[in-house]
Symmetry: C2
Subunit: 500 residues, 2 copies
């Protein structure tokens, strides 16, 4: 095979694989947004068929040969194609390292585990989920060792989700956070609480939908390429840069939950929408990594969205939509109410300050499970102990404890740290951005367009052309340091809670 | 291959093919309900890939051999499997009779033609669509002759959509309709018009959504297995009997449009939801034919939904939702307003009485095009002439003329007659049902459950176990006669318009 033929073969296969992942993505999205409950069994069956067909295409010798040839001769390729091959090969190298029957069995396991987990969570029945959880950790460990026999398996898993991440880096980062945040949280908890009584009201779903439209407009999200749906848990999905979906969940008794879901997922959407046209349809399209994606989404949610500027900007519209609720309330009171902090049980409902501690609990458990320091049966107890120690809260049951997240049941081990890393990246980027222009003033002019432009230029347009480390340094001109994040949180919450 | 192996092979292939058609169906549904506009190009690409993959699976020698063996030895099979093989083989026999390159080229042609048609309709530009339309008619003719060289090609096409239907049967049926309905329509047009002035009001979409929920409740549609979406044109889709979707379109200035879309599509849904469990996942699941499906949907829409009983049943809720509009209006006035009849240009907006004439125009054009009596370039002129002759209306442009329907652009030639046949079937079934119980009284008790039960027993549960002719005779105990339909329309409209 010559290099031209190999490239053509690679592109033909990518086109086919893209169609399968597109179809499976849409079916999954449809299942949680539009389908009736009855759809589930058939969807599982169809996903199984398509997943296997896609796996067979991906594992075909013709594609493997083409990719290997292109990889060996990658210095002859243009930079974009070279990067595509590097990124793609990294993905299949992992899959190719695993015996076929084990890989297929693992797909079936996680499929089943997701259903078992859902029921276990509903019924607070950790015992039923336990054997699956143990098997998922064991398999992740085994697969990591297949892929890189000489590497620490948890490092391999971290690197899989976030190129270049290691447990040494995580330990250093999370160590600093614990040092600073645990005492800060304790001081905030002891301070005079923020009055958010006016937020305990009814917010009709139809009106909240109008607020979502307004927020997407404020964020300058192109609705011709981005739709919004409603799901149990909010998320962002995309099928190329011209078809991005965000979802939210409306609660009649809570305004900020959906509001900040829309802003958070809207951030993910802006990243996908801003990916370079030249990468469309390739493995380079979209975000550089999970952590870079969380960097962007948390930047919009917290640094922008929970800022006083943003709250002042949107308050007139919020007031107009819910005049009875906000009669007599000032924009500043609204801002403060959007930033109430209190240790809690549920990660996804946590405020900006306590959030990273939820991640640290999960990180430490993952790391120690992969190191076989304990077994899955011990996780609930470890979970309780760490929540008490870091956040001072008592975990009353596993539903609000170890069973709350879907990640492990879906097979994602090594993914959680990217959430916290993203917040810290964002604080550093905010500091760099602020040297160039007044971010608050930019927000007050009526939309986040200037911020979108800056992030678009420095991050979005590059897709996955660079490893996240490299991109972060290109963007900030610096090495990563957690100190920006710590300063940002200290300053914000000291002011909000008038800490001395 | 022995018969057991052949059956296993057949079932394995069916499972795979089901997954592909499921995926393509969901992507198409998602595209028109939830996706942003930007999704289109990628969806087309993915559908092309999956369509071709599915075609390759369907045409594989292994499946062909298994099906042929099972067909040859069908007398050894249980009745259900025997029927499956007969139905499935009929479908692939058609596809197998067409040279592969021509079949694939035709799929591409209709794909492209759909886009060209959409633009042509928007811009009233028949000329741009003309070459596609000619090619579609030519190809349908050619394919029909590949499949059955000795048959009249239009009869082959009719039979394809409605087993047993011929142009001789259509000519006889439509001839009677023209004889009776053209003068009846003229008399109605000359009569004192029904006062429906109160219907010219604003009906907020949020409130109409509540009415849809209520109508689905009245029709006893299981929402755990049937969801409702919003699209430009209403339709029903299903992915098995546990995942049925209906759609509607809300117009702020028109209440009955969406109301009767929901009732019509709700009828299709009930048919799918009522298909026998034992057929689930096979080619026998779902409706017996297109005409039987339209029989059911039009039965609910017109015979049930536009009856005085149904209008009286739902009026209190309609009143409650739109109190300002219906203040001072009686249930009888509401019923009459739901049944205004007037010759018009657009098939989908036509009333119950004038509707069949719209079909006759299309039928006659299809039949004569396949007989090569004229070319596609002449269709607009023929269209205008027939609309004037049958309905007395002048067609001002092709957008409201030949370009209004999507069917031909999608390659469906021979499909239109099933719409009118369904209405006539329904009237005869209504007559038979009325001998068993008082249908009006059943509706007045609060839901259509008793009607659902009767149709479920006689039609729904059988799926496609019987050819539509056979099923119709089983259900009514009689041969089909258009006279029931003619009497029904004469009686209803004579009373509504006080004709002498």
């Amino acid at each position: 095979m010559d290099i031209k033929t190999a490239e053509k073969t690679y592109r033909d296969y990518m086109r086919r694989l893209r169609a399968y992942s597109h179809a499976m993505g849409v079916m999954t999205y449809d299942k949680v947004t539009a389908a009736p409950r009855g759809a589930e069994a058939r969807v599982s069956e169809s996903l199984e068929v398509l997943n296997e067909a896609s796996y067979r295409i991906e594992m075909s010798k013709e594609l493997s040969d083409a990719v290997d040839l292109l990889y060996d001769r990658r210095e002859e390729l243009d930079p974009k194609t070279k990067r595509e091959i590097e990124v793609y090969r990294r993905g299949i190298d992992y899959v190719r390292s695993i015996p076929e029957d084990e890989y297929i069995a693992y797909m079936a396991l996680t499929n089943e585990a997701s259903d078992v987990w859902r029921r276990a969570k509903e019924e607070n029945d950790f015992a039923s989920f336990l054997p699956y959880l143990q098997k998922i950790f064991d398999t992740n460990r085994k697969f990591a060792l297949y892929y890189k026999p000489d590497c620490d398996p948890y490092d391999t898993l971290l690197d899989f989700y976030e190129r270049g991440l290691t447990s040494a880096r995580c330990d250093a980062f999370f160590g600093r956070l614990k040092e600073e945040l645990i005492p800060l949280i304790a001081r905030v908890s002891a301070a005079e609480p923020i009055d958010d009584g006016f937020m305990h009201a009814r917010f009709p779903v139809e009106t909240q939908r109008k607020l979502s439209d307004y927020l997407m407009e404020v964020m300058a999200i192109d609705r011709g390429r981005c739709a919004i749906g409603e799901t149990e848990h909010p998320f962002t999905e995309n099928f190329g840069k011209n078809d991005v979906r965000i979802t939210t969940h409306y609660y009649e008794d809570d305004l900020t939950d959906s509001m900040y879901s829309v802003v958070h997922e809207g951030g993910h959407a802006l990243y996908e929408l801003g990916s370079g046209d030249e990468y469309e349809g390739t493995v380079i399209a979209g975000g550089a990594s999970m952590a870079m994606h969380e960097t962007v989404s948390r930047f919009y949610e917290n640094i922008v969205g929970r800022s006083e500027y943003f709250c002042r900007l949107i308050f007139p519209r919020v007031y107009e939509l819910f005049p009875d609720v906000f009669s007599g309330v000032t924009a500043e009171q609204f801002y403060r109410a959007c930033n109430v902090s209190a240790p809690s049980l549920i990660r996804t409902a946590a405020d900006e300050l306590t959030y990273p501690l939820h991640i640290i609990v999960r990180y430490e458990i993952e790391r120690d499970m992969i190191a076989e320091k304990y077994t899955a049966a011990q996780i609930p107890e470890v979970w309780r102990r760490k929540y008490k120690e870091y956040l001072g809260v008592d975990v009353p049951d596993d539903t609000r404890g170890v069973l709350q997240d879907s990640h492990w049941s879906g097979g994602s081990v090594g993914y959680f740290p990217t959430y916290a890393l993203g917040s810290a990246y964002g604080a550093q980027i905010y500091s760099v951005m602020s040297r160039e222009f007044d971010v608050g003033e930019a927000i007050m002019t009526g939309s986040t367009a200037r911020i979108n432009g800056w992030l678009g230029e420095h991050i979005f347009r590059h897709g996955a052309m660079y490893d996240p480390d490299t991109l972060f340094k290109m963007c900030t001109g610096e090495e990563f340091s957690p100190e920006y994040y710590i300063s940002y949180l200290k300053e914000k919450y000291s002011r909000l809670y008038a800490l001395k």
